[in-house]
Amino acid sequence: MTIDETQNQLVEEFSIFTDWTDKYGYLIDLGKEVPEMEMKFKNKQNLISGCQSQVWLYTEFKDGRIYFHTDSDAILTKGLAWLLVKVYNGHTPDEILETEPWFIEKIDLAQHLSPTRSNGLLAMVKKIKIYAMAYKAKSST
């Protein structure tokens, strides 16, 4: 699936929620189900510090594709972070650099990516892009 296909899929999945409790309930479930990151990766280097919640992001680069692992101390942040990872996971640096996470707006969760939010998610999106740029530079040399 392309990044946009995954985004479309998520938009469809979220379209069934008619009120915020269902939607956030789903995010909470997600946050709970996503496996915890191994402690050894929860280090300073992988930490994206929001003021309110902390996000860890750890990447692997295999066969020209980037794989993401994420975690957060807050469940909603973790759920949201996982959605972002799901969208970008296993794609090439170019694909990642080309595509914005527009689904967040479509499923009406854009507020969590606003620059004034202090949950670390916007910083996470930036970090994803930076990783993509770095891997791209690395693999082209």
């Binding site: 915020w20 409790t21 956030y24 309930g25 909470i28 003021c51 309110q52 919640s53 101390d73 807050a74 469940i75 909603l76 942040t77 949950n119």
Partner: protein, 407 residues
């Protein structure tokens, strides 16, 4: 039986009438900033429309009117805190500014290498960092009054912390993250016994207490306009004349001088020595309007009602299973810091927001308090006299819903 007519008073506050998502907002973030009565908002507009003009030294009608209003505002503050002299009231831009002023100017004159400054473990960063900066600059030592797990300061420890090198003690009137009402009268008595002056950070005290600086005998008292129903960008520093006279100025600029030449500059008298440049004169008038509004209701009635509401909230909140509270002094203001078992403070805050309840989450600028309890942050509900028992009931209901969601 409430001592004030809350429903009536709520109508004075336009913001409380608004909806956020689905219902009228329930504003429980009063320790961060308070809402403004129409009188404060309206007078701000009115002064911009009719009198706006730079104060002092003005020869024309507007400037005179504005200067008069500004100096009357000072007099209103003086009476509100019962300062002995009007020139003991300095307008600043807020509590943080007031504390920095004292840390710099008092520090410049009286704190030298090896000297000691004492704060408490429950201080807001604004009452820690300025003193840390001073101590770093002067190679002085910052000492800390410890607290117990209930969030109560250890006054015996204070006694033993004070030494001949102690130059000042600075503590909060009321803790913004624990709600503890500190026994500032006792703290002042202990420090004065050793001839050490005391600064009180009144950011959370002034709006919930009757503050009489002469009776308290504090040497400095600081507070912010925006936390006592006044505008942003205005604050107060009360200081005893004898200290203010001895302290060098903090900021240099217009209005704080008597004469300037490149060879020699002579500073103005109090209070102007500490009010460099164009002050927030419209803000000062807004603040004094807020104080007059409170006087009109009666601070005693406000305090009585807030006490009642606090007890009601306390009863209701502790009855919810699996909540952990931080701060359990028996002298407490209407500030409740808590965590719902295992649920991250941020998650709780987000969900309460969705239910139109505004609370604050995080460290509340008191990281040492969080470290003390080994937590990252709390959910904080802070009450004002315009909050109601119904709102508390709705909060309890909503907390239960959060618990349900995260089950």
């Amino acid at each position: 039986m409430p001592s004030i007519d809350v429903q009536q008073l709520r109508l004075d506050f336009p913001l409380l009438q608004r909806k956020t998502y689905n219902r009228q907002i329930v504003y429980f973030d009063n320790a961060a900033t308070t809402q403004k009565p129409s009188k404060v908002i309206d007078i701000t507009s009115e002064y911009y429309q009719k009198y706006n003009s730079n104060i002092h030294r003005g020869v024309h009608y507007l400037s005179e009117k504005m200067t008069e209003a500004y100096e009357n505002a000072r007099s209103t503050v003086q009476k509100f805190i019962n300062a002995q002299h009007i020139h003991e009231v300095i307008f600043t831009s807020g509590t943080t500014d007031s504390i920095n002023l004292v840390a710099f100017s008092f520090g410049e004159k009286f704190v030298h290498e090896g000297d000691e400054v004492i704060v408490s473990h429950m201080e807001h960063h604004s009452n820690i960092v300025p003193w840390q900066m001073l101590c770093e600059r002067k190679k002085a030592v910052l000492k800390v009054i410890p607290m117990n797990p209930a969030g109560v300061l250890d006054l015996d420890a204070l006694e033993s912390l004070i030494s001949p090198k102690t130059k000042i003690v600075s503590v909060a009137h009321i803790s913004n993250s624990l709600g503890t009402i500190n026994p500032i009268d006792k703290i002042i008595a202990i420090a004065h016994k050793h001839n050490v002056p005391v600064m009180i950070d009144g950011a959370q005290g002034i709006q919930h207490s009757i503050v009489d600086v002469q009776k308290l005998d504090c040497d400095f008292y600081a507070f912010s306009g925006h936390k006592i129903y006044g505008p942003t960008g205005i604050g107060v520093l009360y200081g005893k004349e004898k200290w203010l006279n001895e302290m060098p100025p903090y900021r240099g600029g217009g209005d704080m001088i008597k004469n300037v030449s490149f060879e020699k500059t002579v500073y103005a008298d109090l209070p102007f020595k500490f009010e460099a440049g164009t002050t927030n004169f419209i803000g000062a008038i807004g603040l004094s309007t807020a104080l007059k509004y409170l006087n009109q209701i009666g601070m005693d009635k406000i305090i009585a009602y807030e006490e009642e509401l606090k007890l009601y909230a306390h009863r209701k909140l502790i009855a919810i299973p699996n909540l952990t509270f931080y701060g359990s002094s028996d002298k407490k203001a209407g500030i409740f810091s808590f965590l719902i078992n295992k649920i991250h403070h941020f998650d709780t805050g987000l969900m309460l927001d969705k239910m139109d309840i505004a609370v604050r989450t995080g460290t509340h600028c008191t990281e040492p308090v969080m470290s003390f309890f080994g937590i990252q942050g709390t959910v904080r509900v802070s009450l004002s006299f315009y909050n109601t028992e119904d709102e508390i009931d709705y909060l309890v209901e909503s907390i239960n819903k959060v618990k349900q969601l995260f089950k």
